[in-house]
């Protein structure tokens, strides 16, 4: 591990002070399940680590009156996975969590840390993009909200400034008659996905598709939605024909990178197959709920 100065602030103000003092020279340490491997591999060498794990008030899952849900900065994947409110209010988040690494990783890693890390192959950034999540960023003397669509700006890069701390992520209430699904292909259980998607489909009262989200991971330098396919689904009757057409558009419009785990052509093909399966899966759930 490269050398660094370790700071464990006992309050949010102290954490923000440290971040404003060190700027680019500091990194927030949450669960450490992404940052410490990067440091062990010498891909990151921050001069200061600001460990936020003991900052009070951040380890909270809060329901709002409209039926939305906020997850605080130090809530671990396991804690979110076990929270009843996460399953009830944000089933897409609940569906994605078991796919994040392995149990021992999820016992330490945080939901917010995963979003701040913005790995393009990670599940939760795509989930946040699909749900139109809102990010609450704080720094000394200011707080702002960032929409998911503006948050992920590139490979492992977000809209956060070096002196900003992501306080929480907020998920809006789920629309009525909505089904969700997360599908991915990975080499082994718990590995980062080669390609995958987080999908939601909402039906109108007549049972036609009112809106949908098809949000992909492992398919670009950030999580991406394929809006052409979402638009093509709107107004359609949910069924194999509509799903096949959406899958075709997805395979056509994505341009995933090539690496040892898969070629561009393979990823495009798999993205289409997963789209079909995810849409069918999501629609099945609405059937059950009705």
């Amino acid at each position: 591990m490269p050398a660094f100065a370790y700071h464990r602030p006992a309050s949010l103000d102290e954490a923000l002070d440290l971040l404003s003092r060190f700027g680019e020279d500091a990194k927030i340490l949450a669960g450490g399940q992404s940052l410490l491997p990067l440091m062990a591999l010498r891909l990151s060498h921050p001069a200061n680590l600001v460990d936020i794990s003991r900052v009070p008030g951040l380890n909270e899952i809060v329901e709002d009156v409209e039926g939305g849900l906020a997850i605080g900065a130090t809530v671990t994947h396991t804690r979110a996975e076990e929270a009843e409110a996460v399953h009830r209010l944000t089933p897409l988040v609940a569906a994605a969590l078991p796919l994040v690494g392995h149990r021992a990783i999820r016992n330490r890693g945080t939901v917010v840390g995963s979003l701040a890390h913005a790995d393009p192959a990670a599940e939760l950034p795509a989930v946040a993009l699909a749900l139109g999540a809102r990010f609450i960023a704080v720094k000394s003397g200011g707080q702002r909200r960032v929409a998911a669509a503006d948050f992920f700006s590139g490979f492992l890069t977000t809209d956060l400034a070096p002196d900003e701390l992501l306080l929480a992520v907020g998920f809006p209430p789920q629309k009525p008659r909505t089904g969700v699904s997360v599908k991915e292909i990975s080499r082994r259980s718990g590995d980062f996905a080669i390609v995958g998607l987080a999908a939601t489909v909402s039906l109108d009262e007549a049972g036609l598709i009112a809106s949908s989200a098809l949000s992909f991971f492992g398919a670009a330098s950030t999580a991406v939605r394929v809006t052409e396919a979402e638009e093509a689904l709107a107004g359609q009757s949910p069924g194999p024909e509509a799903f096949e057409e959406a899958a075709r558009i997805v395979s056509q419009s994505l341009d995933p990178p090539e690496d040892a785990n898969g070629t561009t052509a393979y990823r495009k093909h798999v993205a289409g197959v997963l789209t079909r399966n995810a849409l069918a899966d999501a629609i099945d759930q609405i059937g059950f709920a009705a």
């Binding site: 591990m1 490269p2 050398a3 660094f4 100065a5 370790y6 700071h7 464990r8 602030p9 006992a10 309050s11 102290e14 340490l29 450490g32 399940q33 410490l36 491997p37 062990a40 591999l41 001069a47 680590l49 460990d51 794990s53 003991r54 396991t78 690494g101 392995h102 149990r103 021992a104 990783i105 016992n107 330490r108 082994r188 259980s189 718990g190």
Partner: protein, 192 residues
Amino acid sequence: MNSPSATATQSAMGSLHSPIDGTATIELEVNGVGVTRRVNARLSLADFLRERLDLTGTHLGCEHGVCGACTVVLNDEAVRSCLILAVQADGSRITTIEGLAETDHDGQIISIHPIQRAMQEAHGFQCAFCAPGFLMTALCFLERNPAPTRAQIREEISGNLCRCTGYQSIIAGVETAVEIMAADRREGAQDA
């Protein structure tokens, strides 16, 4: 310039600050025994256990979270000790493979843990380099879920790599542990 021996400052607020390449004093409980040590901020919990406490039962394979060999229990949860800094473990309760068997005051083993017994019966391991990680993973898992399905066992141990066995004997070992522990519980209930 901070010298490498510079020590952390602990403020009245309970915060902790170590200078670059400096040390901090941590207090934790390892296998039921309280320990206080001054450690370098960049020391991993795995290296702390192995090098400072001579608990070399915790193994290191990849040192970046992939293999599970270094799995220990921190406050009742299985964690990768290579992905935790010793300073982050300050104030916590750790159990390593050395803490699994029941021992007397001199450290002599009185009885091995049912999971250890099960792995022995099922011939779970070959070289056993991976064994400490699997055992600590299984320990936490069976505490949460004492009657798992085979699919759940496969899922929960999927974060640990074994280069010898092909996993079937390890899965069989966990299944044997489930039986032994259930039988022990029944006996315990009858005795009571």
